[in-house]
Symmetry: C2
Subunit: 445 residues, 2 copies
């Protein structure tokens, strides 16, 4: 029998339903996995086994007919999202041991649906830097090679899901903080349409970009979450077939974006080949010139937003926040309000055009990352390829299945227009089936 | 000598500086005013005199050279904004006695600058309905006529500042929740540029509209706040003279907006006359047709945002939230995602054009409200004239000085383009001097 910790959330739920597994036994299995692996991976910022087991026993007491759709689903929560029974430290000494009794909107919804909020996972400082090490010391490593980063800023959630320590993780994304760890850790990662899930109660960086991110090892698990958060497309649910579908392949090599490394380049090539081999049409496209300022605009808006978001911490303890955030608050780059508005309005004008482009295809296939997870922990890698879809508010799913150097995982991004999240998930399910089977990288089970 | 509770914050600070008043004595005076008036006005959702006095004594202990720019400034906080030492109930039974130990971003900044966070002021449910009475019973009344509403949703802050119970109040605005009570209570009210002050830690309704609002009885006090929040325009601070300045008069009578009542119509007429009499040019303008869908778009986006924002409370206790919010979550009006995006993108496209219009003038002068505060408490009045500037993200100041029926106060809105908040305040200072002196309504002192 498969050890319970290796199950996806949907698989565990099937066993809860047929009474072959209790939530308590399942939670104990996850805790033993964490116990065995934590000294290597360091994915958790806070974990209280007693609390987890007490809650698991409570869930087991609920009569079958009263159980929620997420009954017993174990979820690791990035430590920038408030949980009323655990501290939230944002990886900042300013918030050491800080534990306001407050659940973020996402956590209220997940708990109300029966989820088991497991613990808090590591993050870079305020989810706003790409610098790995925590002020407290431990460095979250990549489950597939402990000498490498697991990415960031949603470091611990990406690692914990990739390492079978928990089936589902919550991250956040302001540029590439969910999708990048998704690729590095060989898992599914979804950044839904901006503002389709409430971001209330997660640390603010940018109102216009911050998005809750979702991790899992299966599309079924992502589907459970989208349904709990009541994401509904305009179009009815229809069966999606790769055969006969039309995809865009967007490699993004322009002066604005860096060139993909060999691992990602090979994955893109193979991904397109596999789709074609399964009967899809794949058109290679480029972004029109009007989209060119996107990257510059994104950074410009971020800078203005960081100036506002980190002013409170700046007042409280300027010396305890990263110098990049101090630079934002002090506007060291001398950004004008006029430039900030030009960028804000410029991105807004691009969004309907990006939707229009995406709507010509079942999905856009593009790179998630430059290449496999880099060596070391000091830097969590580049978000360059994730930024465009964050700026455009479009839903993205990282689909794993490819490999780069050292047999490290590489994923590709599927992208749809805004509020086609359920459609995108149906596409990701079929594409994932192909990429995971034939892409060349297999998760060790 | 003026009783301390009648001082503006700036006046009180002058007395702290020359040692003719302590923060403790000042706080006691405010508390005695509240004690005398509270059974009529009901402006406070939470007030703990012991806590206030303890904090006041702490502030008095700070050496003069170490005092912050907001030293001793007493601030009433709308009860949708988190304060770590007081409950935050959002006027919802779901959050009865809820007191997570968390300060909103705005509160952290204010405290770090030396402010005295005084207590929590009443709000309509989640600042998201225009229905007056609280689930707990008391109805906040208008300080100038207790049989009338003080407006909403920032009911208590508007009332408390208008009634000399506190010199400064924090509100929020998603449509007209700050500016409307400003007019009804005869005080200055400012809705700064969207996202120029962090909205983190205030209950979410709409990411794209929610804005922290500021109340005071003087422009000097608003200036103290804008400086603490580090609002800086691109342009340098320059002396503003009404003489020679050019204003736009925008009365908004279109099929999309209701007609102003006699009180507001007279105030607009008199306001324009006074500016002209003081040497300004006042051009009567109308909004171009491209702005016509603004009101419809605003409501459309709100509906989609409410669907997301109140999903957690819907799961927790659907029967304990207002049916309008239930309607949002259940999408009873059958709004499509496509329409929601059309509205979201449509408003975004209008913003640079609205800035362009405003930049032709020192400020746009327009109505704040339909007329004086309505009778009764069941309805907090119409936000119709406030919505456009909220949707456009533009800064607005309600300037008091006019009167309508029954000698009730009426204010007018001054509006500038985004991130010209300090400019707008300089205009409001000079215009306010004229309106308050010659407009016909005098605050009883």
């Amino acid at each position: 029998m498969t050890e319970p910790f290796r199950l996806t959330a949907s698989q565990a739920q099937a066993k809860f339903r047929d009474c072959s597994l209790t939530v308590e036994t399942y939670a104990k299995s996850l805790l033993s996995r964490i116990s065995a692996r934590d000294s290597t991976t360091h994915a958790w910022a806070y974990l209280n086994p007693d609390l987890v087991l007490a809650r698991a026993r409570e869930l087991d007491q609920i009569a079958p007919e009263e159980r929620g759709p997420l009954h017993g689903v174990a979820i690791g929560v990035k430590d920038v999202i408030y949980t009323k029974d655990m501290p939230t430290e944002h990886n900042s000494p300013i918030y050491e041991d800080d534990a306001p009794k407050l659940d973020a909107a996402s956590i209220i919804t997940l708990r109300a649906n029966g989820a088991l909020i497991f613990g808090k996972t590591t993050t870079t400082e305020f989810a706003a830097t790409s610098v790995g090490p925590s002020y407290k010391g431990p460095r979250t490593s990549n489950p597939h090679d402990p000498s490498r980063t697991c990415g960031g800023s949603s470091s611990g959630s990406g690692c914990a899901v990739g390492d079978f320590q928990v089936p589902i993780g919550l991250g956040t994304q302001t540029v590439g903080s969910t999708i990048r760890p998704g690729s590095y850790n060989g898992i599914y990662a979804m950044k839904p349409t901006w503002n389709s899930i409430s971001r209330e109660g997660q640390k603010l960086y940018s109102l216009i970009f911050d998005t809750l991110g979702l991790y899992s090892r299966s599309v079924d698990d992502l589907k459970l979450l989208l349904d709990a958060f009541q994401l509904v497309d305009d179009e009815p649910e229809e069966v999606f077939n790769v055969k006969g579908a039309k995809f865009a392949l967007l490699t993004l090599p322009t002066p604005e974006w860096p060139e993909a490394g060999p691992g990602t380049a090979a994955a893109l090539k193979k991904g397109a080949e596999l789709l074609r081999a399964h009967g899809a049409q794949v058109d290679e496209i480029t972004l029109d010139d009007e989209f060119r300022p996107m990257y510059k605009y994104h950074l410009q808006v971020l800078s203005g937003d960081g100036r506002v978001a980190f002013l409170p911490e700046y007042y409280v303890a300027k010396d305890k926040i990263h110098h990049l955030l101090v630079n934002h608050v002090e506007n060291r780059d001398k950004h004008t309000r006029k430039d900030q508005l030009k960028a804000f309005d410029g991105l807004a004008a691009m969004r309907p055009k990006a939707d229009e482009l995406a709507d010509r295809y079942a999905a856009i296939l593009g790179p998630s990352v430059l290449d496999v997870a880099p060596k070391g922990y000091d830097n969590t890698g580049s978000a360059a390829f994730c930024g465009p879809w964050t700026a455009m508010h479009m839903p993205v799913v990282n689909v794993p299945g490819f490999k780069g150097e050292n047999n490290m995982p590489i994923g590709l991004s599927l992208v749809a227009s805004r509020y086609r999240d359920q459609h995108l998930l149906r596409v990701a399910r079929e594409v994932g089936r192909i990429f995971e089977t034939e892409g060349g990288w297999q998760r060790q089970v």
